[in-house]
Amino acid sequence: MSKSKGISPPELIKESGSLHPINHMKDSIMNLLVSLGFEIVDGPEIETEEFNFDMLNIKKSHPARQMHDTFYVENKSSLLRTHTSPVQIRGMLEKKPPLAFISGGKVYRKDDDATHLPMFHQVEGIYVDQNVNFAQLKDLIYKIIYSLFGDDVELRFRPSYFPFTEPSAEVDILSKEGNWLEILGCGLVNPVVLENCKIDSNKYSGLAFGLGIERIAMLKHGVIDIRDFYKSNLDFLSQFK
């Protein structure tokens, strides 16, 4: 019988925790954008109609402004921001071009079903300078998507509509199963929005884009049900180390 005394104890495994996959995805995308030259700005989640809608050329009659789409608070004096765009409006009012901002965080819409949550996350970016054009916007979007999904992913640009950009586009990627999946919205900043922010639209133009973090995290991790992100189940969370 061996009497070896030099035997070492079993490896002591002190399991580390994990970052929430949505925050991790948000951080990854923001880091990527910082490496492309963007500056991170933060803003409040409780916003005014002026910053969330008016300044962004979203008219009073727009369906998004109805009570069934937007959470209003404090007797309608404020609202829960429906996108992170108002942060960029605040940024543009504070700083003069050239400027390149990104903002990321929680946004709220009055929705709650299997595929929509009342709270979700976005990262949005804006770049304003002289002679910013659509072909450059495409270049930027290619860089972002290649970095997220690999250089071999196929993507397409579709004309779309957002009140704050013109021209506007939605970008899809082709899944392994052969389906086009919508990944982000983007466009050239509507001159009306630049003028609202006291930026001379004859001299400057801008590009803007926005990504839904949950959607990208679902695709990257293969999560089928968006609600799984917010159950705080340790069996779920521990898979994202």
């Binding site: 019988m1 061996s2 009497k3 070896s4 005394k5 035997i7 104890p9 079993p10 495994i13 002190k14 399991e15 580390s16 925790g17 994990s18 929430h20 949505i22 991790h24 995805m25 951080d27 030259g37 963007f38 500056e39 409780i46 009073k60 009659s61 369906p63 009570m67 959470f71 209003y72 608070v73 404090e74 390149a100 949550l117 709270m119 770049y127 054009n133 659509f134 072909a135 450059q136 495409k138 270049d139 930027l140 860089k143 779309s160 509509y161 013109e166 021209p167 506007s168 050239l188 001159p191 991790h221 999560v223 089928i224 917010y230 705080s232 189940n233 340790l234 069996d235 969370l237 994202f240």
Partner: protein, 634 residues
């Protein structure tokens, strides 16, 4: 909106295939699905002008020669004498009426008119309403048909305020409230303008004399009404998005033409009211600006040629926007027209170089804290902010999803406590969670704070050193001492008295402003790193789990590794986790005691004792094949 391929292609000279049309519709931004040769198209809300066969043909004309074969009645028309007053001309700047009397209601419909009902599987209603529905499909202009014999008295269009009762032609009784644009007959509401007509004046299968109203309504006056009254109508969908400002008379002439192809018209007369000059929208020709916006180089000829094909007119250096394109206002809008015509995917990339800006210390303290907590086995969670009641300074949501989500939380720990109980119910015996979030307060000088909140309970860790140690206040204090040795944190022990649980483990919590932590913590050297790859998620089981422990006594120390290798790598589909929960080397007795915990869980069923015992026996049998080890008591 559903549009049949055959209804489009018959007006297109080149006769493109359905596949080709589909590709080009995507290029133009008209997302769609195809079933049975019908395009089901989701037009963006700015393109109300496309909501018809003709509208879509106008867009497709940028690629093809479109030859529309739709005849209008071209004869002269008598003036209709009607007692009508428009008291809200700002909402309805253009309106036409046509009164028609026919001798006989046709037994059947012919040609394209009949095809519409068959190809799109549309239900027929009555002759005049059917033409109205068809014309909305063909031209994008809704019309409303009243039974002319029911229109006795004064007809008024106006925006009313306050409560009015109204019965729709679909027999729904609704109470209109606040402001609504309506048609009144002798002060009684007979039509919710742009949304739905009323029952009292609706056409029936016997109607031979009809009054057709054809108007432009300002989208702002119509938007929201269909949702408010839960009436989804084709008309409201179109008026909300804006119809052609100047097409009312043509649509009525087309109406006459279709009627005349099916029956004899005994009498007809019409009247058109245009209350304000519809200013044409003009944009100066500036191809350099267009090239600059898109980042291309096209000639002025090429540019203007695209616009002409899309229905714009060009004269003397000015572009006139057609009346159906109310969405086009400036050069960016025109650039989008050109980019769509060229195809977004056909525009070459131009290298973008954004001047680099230093992002110094963005949330560096917060991010350091997160990694520090990861090192100590804490998991980050995110909770929605909505709660049933919080405190007096909680912000109230005016339109909550339900009464359990009426306020915004002023406290994260309560969310974390729910998360803890959720995991305890799933047999988790070591739970450490944290969340960092902005918290908002009502009526406070500083109405926003960024907070870190922590909750922990159960075993310190699932390893042989921490297994028998329980999380308590001292544990959490010790954890933080390693990073902020000189600061006392306000740690709390939460009572389990009011909680729905039989467990007794101490629950420790912390909620603190992020500002509590200073740059001092930045010197902490973390072991954890954010993951580099994005793991593929394996769906988790919601079935209950259970465990079995096996403790061994080892005399031949050299076999310790063999046992570990066997058990830690033992694979079975109902084994979810295995770890060493106990290890003790007794040098005096020359014995190692080592304990393994196996957690069992099935993906699909609650496991029976028998199923677990089968696997357990196999583990025991396999392990005992290793000489020099035994399971005391077995």
């Amino acid at each position: 909106m559903k549009i049949a391929y055959s209804h489009l292609v018959k007006h297109i000279k080149e006769k493109p295939s359905i596949k080709k049309l589909s590709e080009l519709l995507f290029q133009l931004g008209h997302e769609h699905e195809i079933a049975d040769d019908i395009f089901d198209i989701e037009f963006t809300p700015n393109r109300g002008d496309c909501l018809s066969v003709n509208g879509l043909l106008r867009d497709l004309a940028v690629f093809f020669t479109v030859e529309r074969k739709q005849e209008l009645y071209s004869g002269t028309l008598q003036e209709l004498k009607i007692d009508f007053e428009n008291l809200s001309k700002n909402i309805c700047p253009n309106i036409s009426f046509l009164k028609l009397e026919i001798d006989k209601i046709p037994d059947e419909y012919k040609g394209f008119f009949d095809d519409y009902f068959i190809d799109l599987n549309v239900n027929k209603n009555n002759f005049f309403t059917d033409i109205s529905n068809y014309l909305s499909y063909e031209t994008g202009q809704p019309t409303h048909c009243y039974d002319a014999n029911e229109i006795n008295g004064k007809l008024t269009f106006k925006e009313i305020y306050g409560d009015y009762n109204f019965e729709t032609l679909l027999d729904r009784k609704i109470t209109l409230s606040k402001n609504n644009a309506v048609f009144l007959l002798n002060d009684k509401v007979i039509n919710l303008a742009g949304v739905v007509g009323g029952k009292s004046t609706a056409c029936s299968n016997d109607t031979k004399t009809v009054l057709i109203e054809c108007a432009y309504f300002q989208p702002e006056a119509i938007i929201g009404k269909s949702v408010k009254y839960d009436i989804q109508s084709d008309a409201s969908h179109k008026f909300e998005r804006g119809v052609d400002l100047n097409n009312q008379e043509n649509v009525l002439r087309r109406f006459i033409k279709i009627v005349s192809e099916h029956t004899n018209i005994i009498d007809m007369s019409t009247v058109t009211y245009v209350y304000e000059d519809n200013d044409k929208h003009i944009i100066p020709v500036d191809v350099d600006k267009i090239n600059q916006i898109i980042g291309i180089q096209i000639s002025e000829n090429e540019y203007l040629n695209y616009l002409l094909k899309l229905g714009f007119s060009v004269e003397g250096g000015s572009i006139t926007v057609p009346s159906f394109r109310s969405d086009v206002k400036n050069n960016n809008d025109l650039a989008e027209e050109i980019a769509r015509a060229i195809g977004y995917d056909n525009i070459d990339l131009l290298d973008i170089n954004i001047p680099k800006i230093e992002n110094k210390n963005y949330k560096s303290i917060e991010n350091k804290l997160r990694l520090f907590l990861l090192d100590h086995g804490f998991f980050e969670v995110i909770n929605p902010p909505f709660v049933s009641y919080d405190s007096n300074d909680a912000i109230k949501v005016d339109n909550p999803l339900d009464s359990n989500r009426k306020y915004l939380r002023t406290n994260i720990v309560k969310s974390l406590l729910d998360n803890l109980l959720y995991n305890e119910k799933r047999q988790k015996d070591s739970i450490k969670l944290f969340e960092i979030s902005d918290i908002y307060y009502s009526n406070s000088d500083s109405n926003k704070k960024r907070k870190l909140s922590i909750i922990a309970s159960g075993r310190v860790g699932l390893n042989y050193e921490d297994f028998s140690k329980k999380i308590n206040k001292q544990y959490l204090a010790d954890v933080f001492k390693t990073i902020i040795p000189n600061k006392e944190l306000d740690l709390n022990v939460l009572s389990r008295d009011s909680l729905d649980t039989k467990l007794k483990n101490e629950i420790v919590s912390l909620e603190v402003d992020i500002d509590t932590f200073s740059d001092d913590i930045l010197s902490y050297k973390e072991n954890s790193r954010p993951p580099v790859a994005f793991n593929q998620y394996i769906p988790i089981s919601e079935q209950p789990s259970s465990f079995k422990d096996i403790s061994y006594s080892i005399k031949d120390f050299s076999k310790t590794n063999d046992l570990q290798n066997l058990l830690l790598n033992y694979k079975n589909k109902i084994i979810k986790q295995v770890y060493i929960f106990d290890y003790f080397k007794n040098d005096k007795k020359e014995e190692i005691k080592i304990g393994f915990r196996f957690i069992f869980q099935s993906k699909s069923t609650t496991l029976t004792t028998h199923e677990i015992d089968l696997v357990y026996s196999d583990i025991v049998n396999e392990s005992l094949k290793i000489s020099g080890i035994e399971i005391p008591g077995m």
